[in-house]
């Protein structure tokens, strides 16, 4: 008999290999897109931290409503740089739920503001370290990034397109 049957352990491996080969074009595209999303999130967050650290001003804010469990914002009124009272908000996603839950309606807190920004986002001074440590831009992204990475490194042939078949050109 000429054709030997593949060992039982090779069946799933061949299937995975074929699966990766089929998905490779999408995986390359996906990897680039997911990486760009994560990097832009990282760069945006680092840039925001730098802005608050270098140009942020400390002021007093009053919490307007008790924080709702699922709310994305905690609304406040704060003393602006010109002495006028302005509306602002705390973006809750940067902080742990228990940190947000400790705030009470009417409570006064110290916050950092960025006077030149159109968005009146404020960062509580006491929780600045939590804001700095935020890594939420990874959430929901790292698994597809990892899957697309694994698919591409199993079947990377497309990455070499146009680079290996240039025999006559150079």
């Amino acid at each position: 008999m000429k054709n030997k049957a593949a060992p039982p352990s090779q069946g799933p491996l061949q299937f995975i290999d074929l699966f990766c080969m089929g998905l490779s074009p999408m995986a390359i595209l996906g990897f680039v897109i997911f990486l760009i999303i994560i990097l832009s999130g990282l760069i945006g967050h680092v840039s925001l931290i730098q802005q608050y650290e270098t140009r942020g001003r400390e002021t007093t804010a009053k919490i307007l409503y008790a924080p709702a469990p699922d709310s994305e914002y905690l609304f406040v009124k704060y003393n602006g740089t010109g002495g006028q009272v302005e509306d602002g908000f705390v973006r809750t996603r940067y902080y742990r739920p228990e940190t947000i839950a400790q705030y009470r309606e009417g409570q006064f807190i110290q916050v950092y503001i960025l006077p030149e920004r159109v968005e009146h986002e404020v960062i509580p001074v006491a929780d600045f370290d939590e804001f700095r440590a935020y890594r939420g831009y990874w959430q929901g992204m790292w698994i597809p990034l990892l899957v697309s990475y694994l698919v591409v490194i199993v079947r990377p042939e497309l990455l070499y397109l146009g680079l290996t078949d240039r025999g006559g050109k150079r």
């Binding site: 595209l29 680039v32 990486l35 990475y149 490194i153 199993v154 146009g162 680079l163 290996t164 240039r166």
Partner: protein
């Protein structure tokens, strides 16, 4: 930005795409005289043609008294930008149409330029600079002076390292301010357009190379790399004297610009990097080290 500056910005983007396309498709004619090699290049023709065209359009706009402000969503700006973006993304990831080619000298020159810049910024001894710029510069310096050819795997690592070090250039705080600036002079528009395409293509190549190097973990994937590296990372080098004089002049000029606090020193740094990679050592290359192909 003004319509005139936008014309030069678009010109810079197209010019850089043409230069990268030339890197991929045109074999430089090796000249016995390196200076002649520097001057006789089709890329100068492309540059003169495109900048001349941009100058003519700008002169017409000025003559017509056009003082319109334009933005990225202005139709005549958006259409070519989107078309170019799609082409760059596709060409950068899965084709060899736009090829950021280097040799050891161009990599070393870029690393030295970045070292001088970081020294003036006071960031030379920061861990990120040491790992991304100083350490690879030492490695590439060793590779440059030794006479034997560099194995493809080492070339791949050096090339990946070089691509990462260019990110240092992109993330300078002044550069970030440049990227978010709303007003440009004509010259700034031109350089910004070139730099943007240069960094995007190198960024895409960094991702591509990261995946290629990762894939080497499987033995069956190791056959491709030796075929790719001679295309991207060529062995021909400019004569040592030419390299030293050119790099010395570049570094001296950049240092003088910083010492005398001339405005736009970052702009000149960007130009120095682009010219080092795409013009100076590419053009002056002479047959030197034995080809890597002999090692395969």
């Amino acid at each position: 930005m003004s319509a005139q500056a936008m014309v030069f910005f678009l010109t810079g983007m197209f010019l850089e795409v043409i230069w990268l396309w030339m890197d991929a498709h045109l074999t430089p004619r090796l000249q016995k005289n390196p200076l002649l090699g520097l001057l006789v290049q089709p890329r100068w023709l492309a540059a003169i043609g495109l900048i001349g065209l941009a100058g003519a359009i700008t002169a017409i706009l000025d003559a017509l008294g056009v003082s319109q402000r334009v933005y990225i969503d202005t139709v005549w700006v958006m259409l070519p930008t989107v078309a170019l973006g799609v082409y760059i993304a596709f060409a950068g990831m899965v084709t060899g149409e736009l090829l950021p080619r280097v040799n050891e000298q161009s990599v070393l020159a870029v690393q030295l330029i970045l070292i001088v810049h970081q020294a003036f910024e006071g960031n030379l001894f920061e861990p990120l600079t040491l790992v991304l710029v100083v350490l690879p510069a030492a490695v590439v310096f060793y590779l440059t002076i030794r006479q034997s050819s560099t194995p493809p795997t080492v070339k791949a690592l050096v090339y990946f390292w070089y691509l990462l070090s260019l990110l240092v250039l992109g993330f300078q705080s002044e550069q970030m301010a440049f990227f978010s600036a709303k007003e440009f002079t004509l010259f700034e528009g031109l350089v910004f357009g070139m730099l943007l395409v240069f960094l995007i293509v190198h960024g895409l190549f960094a991702i591509r190379f990261f995946l290629m190097i990762s894939s080497l973990i499987l033995p069956r994937n190791r056959a491709y790399l030796p075929q790719v590296m001679p295309v991207i990372y060529y062995d021909e080098q400019a004569p040592t004297a030419v390299f030293m004089v050119t790099t010395g002049l570049l570094l001296g000029t950049l240092a003088a610009l910083r010492l005398f606090e001339i405005e736009n020193s970052l702009l000149w740094l960007d130009i120095a990097v682009i010219l080092s990679v795409q013009v100076f050592f590419h053009a002056a290359a002479q047959p030197g080290k034995p080809s890597t192909k002999t090692l395969q």
